[in-house]
């Protein structure tokens, strides 16, 4: 009799409903490919299979980031949920790749998990903050894309954390810069003039000087220049600098710490 009770208890433990598991557990119990589907920021769009558009003025494809108006890509950019493809081997996530737009119909063999964007963001935030590289870095973009509270405080912590892999901190700083541009309303390029293009170029050229000279100058331009084009370029290149002073400036401009 005692033995039977023990067996029942074990059975109960192993038949926990899927909804009671964390997203992390659900993903990691998969072996192979799993797709996590959640809502994207309303402005984001994509073709569901190769590129993501309108991510703070950038289009993302593969491992590259393209500026808006580059004449690429060809397929229409449609709004839709994020489809985050995760590859899991022996309980460890080895690769993440995000898509936005129409859901693909040819996902045979892949398990699909639909979750609220906040839940996805919470899980991705853990990966960014403590996961291994390169997956931690790959988690930054799908985190930024989620229709959830802005991840800037978390990304600031990561960007300033010397113990995190350099690539993750670089990714965090890059997207923080874009968040700052969006937060300050500097992303409107519709009325850009040739003088604005020259200002952006001047900032780029200044950013290529030795870091001790360029970073303080970029910080000053980002904080106080009267031209939106110059501030936007300075924030962008600070985001590329990998310098701790950039994170401090971004925190200040975001009104956070």
């Amino acid at each position: 009799m005692r033995r039977s009770v023990g067996a029942l208890a074990i059975a109960m433990v192993y038949v926990v409903p899927a909804t009671a598991q964390t997203l992390s557990q659900r993903v990691q119990t998969t072996d192979g490919r799993v797709e996590i589907v959640y809502a994207s920021r309303p402005v984001a769009c994509g073709d569901g299979r190769s590129y993501i558009g309108h991510v703070f003025g950038h289009t993302v494809a593969g491992t590259g980031v393209y500026q808006r108006n580059s004449g690429w890509p060809e397929r229409p950019c449609l709004p839709g949920p994020i489809r985050l493809e995760a590859t899991v081997l022996d309980g460890e996530i080895t690769h993440l790749r995000a898509y936005v737009g129409p859901l693909a119909t040819d996902v045979a063999g892949a398990r699909t998990i639909e979750v609220p964007a906040r839940e996805a963001a919470s899980w991705l935030g853990q990966l960014v903050a403590s996961g291994r590289s390169p997956v931690a870095g790959e988690a930054v973009l799908p985190l930024v894309l989620a229709d959830a509270p802005d991840p800037w405080p978390l990304l600031l912590r990561v960007a300033r954390d010397d113990d995190r892999p350099r690539a993750v901190r670089t990714d965090a700083l890059f997207w923080l810069g874009n968040g700052v541009i969006d937060h300050l309303g500097l992303d409107d390029r519709a009325s850009e003039t040739p003088d604005d293009e020259m200002r952006s170029q001047a900032v780029f050229v200044l950013s290529q000087r030795p870091r001790d000279e360029s970073v303080p100058e970029l910080v000053e331009i980002a904080r106080a220049n009267k031209h939106a084009s110059a501030r936007r370029a300075a924030i962008f290149w600070l985001g590329q600098s990998g310098d701790a002073r950039a994170a401090d400036t971004f925190a200040e401009l975001l009104g956070t710490r």
């Binding site: 170029q201 200044l206 290529q208 000087r209 220049n225 031209h227």
Partner: protein, 251 residues
């Protein structure tokens, strides 16, 4: 009163005729080969050396920069000219090394200035790698007075654009004053030639070049050329350039 002037004129003619004849001699001797290969050698200018396999190094007299390594032989410039149907169809050149295998006609050592002028004339009609090799061989020649011929090619709107850009590059590497390049810029068309000039000018590393780049960045009619000039200004690390960038940002 007229006689001295006439004498001077005759003197000028007397000086120039042998050059023309010698140049014609190089050209006419090459033209005597309808199909085949012609080989010639000539002295390289001081500071030019090569390994005989296509690598060439120039000791920059202005900066003292030298990127030489062994074996680096100071000349001669060795040129092989391909002929087909009575036309010159290819040019290959190198500095140093030994003579290449047998040619249909071997001119041996020829005056560097004559060879350079012949090669420069070819570059007006040739394109691609042959033009590039003809121009570099001419630029390596110990022939200090041929630089106006490079400028003539830069201005030749009938020549291939790449040939004109190569000529502009070598003119930038020459001893011609930066003021000549600055003056030439104002006549450069089309836009890719002006764009290329923004790369050529900063190689001069002098005030006149920096001033001209700032002028281009401010006033060129093409925005991309202005931006490129600004990029190369940034590479100069000149305080005037940095001041210019700051001016752009506060205007």
């Amino acid at each position: 009163m007229r006689r001295p002037a006439r004498t001077v004129t005759l003197g000028v003619l007397a000086l120039s005729i042998p050059l023309v004849v010698r140049a014609q001699t190089v050209a006419s001797r090459i033209a005597s080969v309808r199909d085949g290969t012609v080989r010639m050698n000539f002295d390289s200018r001081p500071g030019v050396c090569g390994d005989g396999e296509g690598n060439v190094w120039i000791i920059d007299a202005r900066s003292g920069f030298s990127d030489t390594r062994d074996p680096c032989v100071p000349g001669p410039v060795r040129v092989a000219i391909g002929r087909s149907g009575g036309q010159t169809v290819s040019v290959r050149s190198r500095v140093g090394g030994v003579d290449s295998p047998a040619a249909d006609l071997d001119l041996g050592n020829v005056p560097a200035a004559d060879a350079a002028r012949y090669l420069l004339e070819l570059a007006h009609t040739l394109g691609g790698r042959s033009s590039n090799q003809a121009l570099s061989a001419a630029a390596f020649a110990d022939a200090p007075n041929v630089w106006p011929e490079f400028e003539r090619l830069v201005r030749d709107s009938d020549a291939m654009l790449d040939s004109r850009k190569d000529a502009l590059f070598w003119l930038g590497q020459s001893d011609a004053p930066t003021a000549d390049l600055v003056h030439l810029y104002d006549d450069l068309e089309p836009e890719p030639l002006r764009d290329h000039a923004t790369f050529v000018l900063p190689q001069r590393r002098d005030d006149a070049a920096v001033d001209k780049l700032i002028d281009i960045a401010r006033h060129d009619r093409d925005l991309d050329v202005r931006k490129r000039a600004m990029f190369w200004l940034g590479q100069s690390r000149d305080p005037k350039a940095v001041k210019f960038f700051r001016d752009v940002l506060v205007r």
